[in-house]
Every structure is written in structure tokens, then in C-alpha cells.
Symmetry: none
Subunit: 522 residues, 2 copies
């Protein structure tokens, strides 16, 4: 079977999205997730333009990746310089990745108007840059910027640029639709011609300004490209890049070509949602393949048909991409999920037990309030065990008070929490400060409980996220707080929801403590 290479640029081109700003830690977590998914290449950043990316490349070399190779991205060397004396080139080499991708100009208009050099000079720049980098990396890929616009304007010159890169030893020639305005039929025609002329593998890199990026990438593969670039969920500048979350199953399930293993493909929904969470966005419900609505059926006629034969209104089986069928206004889908989860948590339940119905009802009620358990499995396990009477109460809250006080403009406010808890017959009343009100409350709660449960000293809070749920209600909106905690061996996520951020945080903190104590007992 023909293999198509998947090249992910979520961390570079995707990071150009408006409202997105990944920390180095975010980028490392996404790298691990992409490796799990099994994409062949991960473009990690642009070390020549961004000091944060230099830090990323230093740290990413310590990760043990199984499937993916990390790539550093940059440009051809600057005009009037030698490659060896160019800062961008230096930064690329220092990144120390096995593969380097550079972009170069191929549209004559851009060569003259943006780069401001002669057409000949640009060919030399491409050739010399690739030649130089080939000495320092396993492979060098050449991104032909604005290739489609360039080809339409001056096909001979655009092809000459590809040839310059090929002659210098480039290992893949990537045709980029940088402005994203090329329609699919034109992409097919141009790729066909480019593939004929070159021995080196051809890639495509599409942007979505004409809303055709996914179809054009698929057409690119049908007309001869064997390397596809894109981002998770189509993140990227302006209208975004081609969405790999749609491209991968289209290539694999519709064209019958190979990108990932079937097990990897089943991680698609998980990866898609993970990146949304890290980017602190909302997952787009109507997103093909991985959205919540992607396999949700509303119309009564559709519902009765899919219950008999799902293929009547489903183009692929949702399980293939890790998604599932949803029948709106019905909890048929819920039960099987609950059963599957119970099994994971080591709880035995039968399909027709009354308790399942109770859990489904409780879950629906909480989800209506804004709870979401995807990043908070520990809270879900607690909910389940409470419903089944498998959970005991470790402490009782008698009350807390938080004070945030600012005495002067320009001065940081002081945060202090007092708390009173009861464990068995003992009452503990204590206080703590913190960098903010939530930190103060967290410190006070642990201080009070560590007396009774010294094992809590091992617990560290790793991550804290806040999501405002109800848009358009200003500062009285509902918020969801997600907390990620860990001890020596484990990490777990908990959740809280309230109109009061302190209350939402408190719920998530209490669940985190509860979960740790429950695991110690088990």
C-alpha cells in the first residue's frame, strides 16, 4: 500500500493563530501527543525568529519519541550573505534536529517585491541554502512558498526554483499555497505537472482561505504528492492551515492509502480535543470526524434508520476515529460509555443495573451545569464510587474565609485564607497566605488536612485551568476549573463548576485530595 507521510506544523504554523500562545511546556506536551498519534514529522518551531523555540528544541531532544521525527523550520539565507555567516542558518543547525525545513520564494512577484533581489539571485539563494544545510542534517525539505500563485504567474520560473532545490539535494519539494486562495481543481492540475518533472517526493502545504484546504490536500495526494503538511484542528494564521484531523482519515479511509495504524487512527478524537484544551479554545462541535456533533443524529427519521443500519446516515463508522454515535435526546449512548468506564475503574456493573441509570442521570445533570469529565477522570471516578456507595468521607468542611486586600495602586494585593475542617471528632482551624486567593485556599486546605493525612504532603498541583462557560454575562459568568495533581507515581485531573471562581476551584481541590486519599486506601 502506498504510504503518505504526515507532517504536522501545529507547533510552528499553527502557533501563528490569533489568540494562541503556546508555552514551551505546552509545546512539549503536544509533541508527546503527536508522537503517540504517529505522525511522521513534527515541525517544532522557528528557532531563528523566536527565542522560546530555542528553549523548546533544547528540551525536546530529551523526550523519548517512538514514531515521529522533530523538524526545525527556517528560511533560506538572507540576500548578500553567505549561508555560513547567516544567523537563521546558525540557529537551524543549533536546534540539532535530524530534519530541517526551509522555505524559499518561488513567485517571481514576491522575489521582486518582497525579497527585492533578481530572479537569478533567488535561485542561487535556494541552491546554496539547501547545499549548506544538507551538511548538517539527515534530510532537508524545501517549502516552495506561494508555489501555486507563482506557477500561475510564471510557471517556468516556479519550476526552476524547485529544480534549484532538487539539484542541491533537497529530500522533499513541498508546494505551498501560502495565501490559501487556490481552488481544488487548480491544485490538482499544478501538482500533476510538478510531479512529472521531479524525481524527489512532492509534498503539499495548504492554507484554508478559500475553505478548500482539506479537499485540495486530498486532491494533491490523488495527483501524486506523497507528503502532506497541516495542523491539528486546522489551527494557523488567518483562516488556518489544512486540517490534519480531516485529511488523515480521508486519505486512509477514503483513498485507501496508509498513513497511520488503525490503533493510532482511533486516537484521532483524543488528540484533536487535547490540542483544543492546551490551546484553551472550545472544541468546534461540527468539526468533521472528531466534533461532538460529527455523528450526532437529531431528526427522528434519521435516528430510526441509523439504529437499524448506521451506514444509512454515517459516512464512516465513528469508532474508527475514536468518536461515537450520539442520538440527541436519548441516553442510549450514555450507558455503554458508563459501563466501559466502570470496567476501567475496576467496578463490576451489569447492563441492566438500576445504578447505571442513576449515574447516567447524575452525569447529564452535571453536564448541563457545565461539568466536563474528559480532563477530569478522577472526579468522574469519585462520582461513580459515591453513587455506588464505594466512597467514604475523609473530612468535613466547617467553613472558609478568603481575604484579598490591596492597599495602594501599583502594589500587589495580599491574599489570606482561613479554614476550619473536622476529621473524626477533631476540629482543625488554620490559616495560610498565597500568591492569589486560590493558592491561599489551596495552602490552607492542605495545611489543615496534612495533620491527619500526612500522605497529602506528596501531592503537588501541576496545572490549573479556568474556562469561562457562559459568554455574554461579563464577570458573573459561570466558570469551570480543571486541576491536574500528581504524586510520585500518578497524575490525576479534577473539575469544579460555579459562578464563583473560588467555589469552582474549591470543588476541584477537594476532589483532588479525596482522590489521593481514596487511592491510598485502595
Amino acid at each position: 500500500m502506498h504510504r503518505i507521510d504526515i507532517y504536522d506544523t501545529t507547533l510552528r504554523d499553527g502557533a501563528q493563530s490569533e489568540d494562541i500562545s503556546f508555552s514551551v511546556e505546552d509545546k512539549l506536551r503536544i509533541t508527546e501527543k503527536l508522537d503517540e498519534l504517529g505522525v511522521h514529522y513534527i515541525e517544532g518551531g522557528y528557532p531563528g525568529s523566536n527565542p522560546r523555540d530555542i528553549d523548546y528544541f533544547r528540551k525536546v531532544s530529551r523526550l523519548k519519541l517512538v514514531n515521529s521525527k522533530v523538524v526545525a523550520f527556517g528560511s533560506t539565507h538572507r540576500p548578500k550573505k553567505k549561508p555560513g555567516g547567516d544567523e537563521t542558518m546558525k540557529a537551524l543547525i543549533e536546534a540539532g534536529t535530524p530534519i530541517i525545513t526551509i522555505f524559499g520564494k518561488t513567485w517571481d512577484f514576491h522575489v521582486k517585491e518582497a525579497l527585492r533581489v533578481s530572479l537569478e539571485e533567488n535561485l542561487d539563494i535556494i541552491h546554496d541554502s539547501v547545499t549548506f544545510l544538507k551538511k548538517h542534517a539527515e534530510k532537508v525539505f524545501f517549502d516552495a512558498e506561494h508555489f501555486f500563485d507563482g506557477y500561475i504567474n510564471n510557471p517556468k520560473y516556479a519550476l526552476k526554483c524547485l529544480k534549484a532545490a532538487q539539484d542541491a539535494g533537497a529530500d522533499c519539494l513541498v508546494l505551498c499555497d501560502t495565501n490559501g486562495g487556490t481552488i481544488t481543481s487548480v491544485v490538482g492540475d499544478v501538482v500533476k505537472k510538478a510531479v512529472k518533472g521531479y524525481a524527489v517526493p512532492i509534498g503539499v502545504h495548504m492554507h484554508n482561505d478559500a475553505d478548500c484546504a482539506v479537499a485540495s490536500s486530498v486532491t494533491g495526494v490523488e495527483t501524486g504528492a506523497s507528503h502532506v503538511q497541516g495542523t491539528i484542528n486546522g489551527l494557523g494564521e488567518r483562516c488556518g492551515n489544512a486540517n490534519l484531523i480531516s485529511i488523515i482519515p480521508n486519505i486512509q479511509l477514503k483513498l485507501g492509502m496508509k498513513c497511520l495504524t488503525p490503533e493510532q487512527l482511533r486516537k484521532l478524537r483524543d488528540v484533536s480535543r487535547f490540542v483544543t484544551e492546551i490551546a484553551n479554545l472550545r472544541h468546534f462541535k461540527r468539526q468533521p470526524y472528531t466534533g461532538d456533533s460529527a455523528f450526532a443524529h437529531k431528526g427522528g427519521m434519521h435516528v430510526s434508520a441509523i439504529l437499524k443500519r448506521p451506514e444509512t446516515y454515517e459516512h464512516v463508522s465513528p469508532g474508527l476515529v475514536g468518536n461515537s454515535q450520539r442520538v440527541l435526546i436519548s441516553d442510549l449512548a450514555g450507558k455503554s460509555n458508563i459501563l466501559r468506564k466502570a470496567e476501567e475503574f475496576g467496578i463490576r456493573l451489569s447492563t441492566d443495573s438500576v445504578q447505571i441509570q442513576d449515574i447516567v442521570t447524575k452525569l447529564k445533570e452535571l453536564e448541563n451545569q457545565g461539568f466536563q469529565f474528559e480532563g477530569a477522570e478522577a472526579s468522574f471516578e469519585l462520582l461513580m464510587k459515591k453513587s455506588l456507595g464505594l466512597h467514604k468521607k475523609f473530612f468535613e468542611l466547617m467553613g472558609f474565609r478568603l481575604i484579598v486586600e490591596k492597599r495602594k495602586e501599583g502594589e500587589e494585593p495580599i491574599s489570606e485564607a482561613t479554614i476550619m475542617v473536622k476529621v473524626g471528632g477533631h476540629v482543625e482551624h488554620t490559616a495560610a497566605t498565597g500568591k492569589g486567593p486560590v493558592n491561599a485556599l489551596d495552602n490552607a486546605l492542605r495545611k489543615a488536612l496534612e495533620k491527619f493525612y500526612p500522605e497529602l504532603k506528596e501531592v503537588k498541583l501541576h496545572d490549573y485551568k479556568v474556562r469561562v462557560l457562559t459568554a455574554g454575562k461579563g464577570t458573573s459568568a459561570k466558570v469551570r476549573v480543571l486541576v491536574e495533581s500528581g504524586d510520585k507515581g500518578n497524575r490525576w485531573g479534577t473539575v469544579g463548576v460555579s459562578e464563583n471562581i473560588i467555589e469552582a476551584s474549591y470543588q476541584a481541590l477537594v476532589d483532588s485530595v479525596d482522590y489521593k486519599l481514596l487511592k491510598e486506601e485502595e
Copy 2:
């Protein structure tokens, strides 16, 4: 020039979206807006399945539409019935529209599994239904349900269904990709074959389950269809319908065929946002052509190029679809972004002024601290005006204190804020409660200032967002707060950053107040 008919089904197929429920009033307002835009047909509803739609058709006949014709939608008559005795047929006629569209089965699998009649019987049903309706309407369009799946499975039979509709007098044969899974190259091949066999105009109706609906619709037109169905913003069941907001400019600006007048095309962004508002959704920033980010530029290199020649990084001129170019403020940006912004704010600065360098330095410093001005242009304008000495102080904070108190488990905590401010020589000391600490502080701040600045009463807080910046630091992480405020005519965004969420919120709230007072003065 070849004219392509645009057929909008936002009010029928689009209304099948999860989370959408249009009232009759909503539908009438959208109808008027679509007529302004100039689409040729507006499918208003399914009178046979929905009593609300009957009401809509009664009321829509009183609107004075200039450009569009209203269409009622339904199905072929039920098996074992005569068309004249069928309730759906009756409802269609009673809707009283000049045009009626009915769908019929064309996939042999569906005929047998869902409709449960013989293949011959289904042909009769199609023929008799169209024949009957032709007596009651100017035109009858036939939606060939699942045509692409049907054609692939049994091309002869699928084409026979089209022929039955044509022979009965159908005025358009619409090839539907009901499950949305057909890829673009297949759509092109099938349309080409269907166009050859039939004298009647061919239409296409795509769904977006493979993320190809826009490209496939455009390809459909290139291969011979002259009628395109879709919805505004791609609303619709599962992954939605083909998005007319992308299809229309693609056909008009890329294929050079005619759908709308240039003046109508300039209403595209307005119509796109209007439907989003009525549907009570958020407008998708990355939406091609009409999204806020569609022509937004972030990278410094891109910005300096578009300032010289916009076509270097813009596939079409944004004004053609009623959108505009935006330059984003971010640490990737350089001097040219700042100059461009200063111009927008009505500040005169020359390229080599020392003040620009000061602003760039200040901006980089703040962005290192975690500030981000992309969603907070008002804070950026204040920053700029403060740097240039163009901003005066409206009040001084003497101090605030916030108390959040929870007295019992399961009880919501109470939030109270006290605040002291000085305006001129007057000191105001007051207090307020709120749904959470930020809401309480917000209420107290306004209460204190409204005495001196009654114009603040107009200001409403529309949105409040919190982003945790430093992962892996638990509850002592830094947070960024974005606040969106508005008055009668305007909306503006402000930002604050701190390890203390209260302090970060306070900064954003103060900027919001400051901005309003500054604008009142100007």
C-alpha cells in the same frame, strides 16, 4: 457570463444543527437578510413535519422580497398512497410558495432498507409526486437524496431516478451528498456524467462530513452544475452543510461566474455575522472570507510586506466581501505594526520617532510578562497614549478588600468587596456583593465611580475570559484576564496579568473604565 443559482437552506437544513432552534420571528428576519444578500432561493422550512414552519409560510408571504423566491421543502409521497391523499403533499401545497422542492430516494440500499419498497415502486413514487406538485407550483426541484452513494453502488438505478423526475417535469435535478462523505474528485466525476445525460439544470447539495463540502460544490459548478445549495456559515446537522459564505465568493471571484452583484457580495460579512448572532453562537474567527482573523496578519515579515503590497499575503481584497485587513499586535510584530495601529487610533507618529522605539520596548516587556493585546486593543491604545502623554488619570485607588466566605459544605460562598477611590479632592468609600469575587469587585468599582462619571452606567461587561499562563505551577500560576465591554455603539477589549486572579481582573476592569472615560473626553 454564466449565472449560477444560489439556493439557501439555512432555515431548513441549517436549523437541524445541534444547539440551534430558530423562532418564527428569527426565520423571518433571516429571510429578509438573505433577500438583501440576493440569493435566488430561500428554502424556508418543511411544512409537513413541523407546525412552526406552517406559521412561517403564512407570515413570509406578507414580506416584500426583492431578490429571492421562497421555497417549501418536503418529501415524495408515502408508499401505498396517492399523492392527492398524502398529508405531506397537502402541507406543501398549502404553504403557497412559488417553488416546491421534494427529496426522493436514489440509493438502492436506502430504497430497500429505509423506505422498504421495490426499486420500481420508488421510481413511480418519484414520478407521481413531481407530476402532482407541478400542477400547484411554478417550479418543482427534485433533491436526489444520497445520489453520490447511490451512483457508486448502482449507477444505472441512480440515473433512472433522475430520469423519472425529469420526465415528470422537474425543473432542477439536485445531486445530494446526504451523508457528506464523498471526496471532491468523486463529486467531479459523477456530476460530469449526470450533466451529460439530462437536459434539465443540475444542482449540488453537499454536506461537510469529509470536510470537503465547499471544494466539492465549487468542483460541481466547474463540472456543469448551475445551481448550488448550502447554508450561511455551514450550519447543519452533524458537520453541517456546504458553506455558502465561502462558495459564493469562490464562484464569483475565483471562477469568474456570476451569482450576486458586487454590492451584494460586499454584504457577505454582515449576513454571516447576522446569522451567527440570531443563532446565538460565537462567530468563528478563522472562518474564510468573513471571520475576524480571515485577513489578520501577525508575523512582522508578513506585515511589512502587506503594507507595501496587500496581495503578497491576501488571496482577495477583503473589502470585496465586506471584511477588512487587521494587523495584530504581538511580540512577532515590529515597528510597522505599531505605526499602522497609531494611525488607526488617530495618532501621528513618524517612522524614526524615538517614541515608537519606547512603545516597542514597553510592548515586548509586557508580552514577556504574559500580556497579549490581540483581544485587548483598548488596553493597547491606553498604553500607547500613556507613553505619549495623551492620557490623563481619572481616579486614584486608595485600596480594596475582597472577602469570600463559605460557612458550610454544599452552600455557595458569599462574595463582598469594599473599595475606596479618590476623584479630584473627593474620597468615595463603598461596598458591593457579587456572584463571585470578581463580580463583587466589578460592582463595587462601578458603584464608587458612577457618582463622578454617570456615563459609566451605559457600560456593560459582555465577556470575561481567564487563561492560566504558566503550566505546571498549580494554583500559584500566572493568569491573564481578558474583559470585553461595550456601550450603545461600541465594544472594546482590555487585559490584565498577575499571579493573583483578582489583581489581573482589576487591571482589566480599570482599563475598561479608563477607556470609556477617555473616549467620552475625545
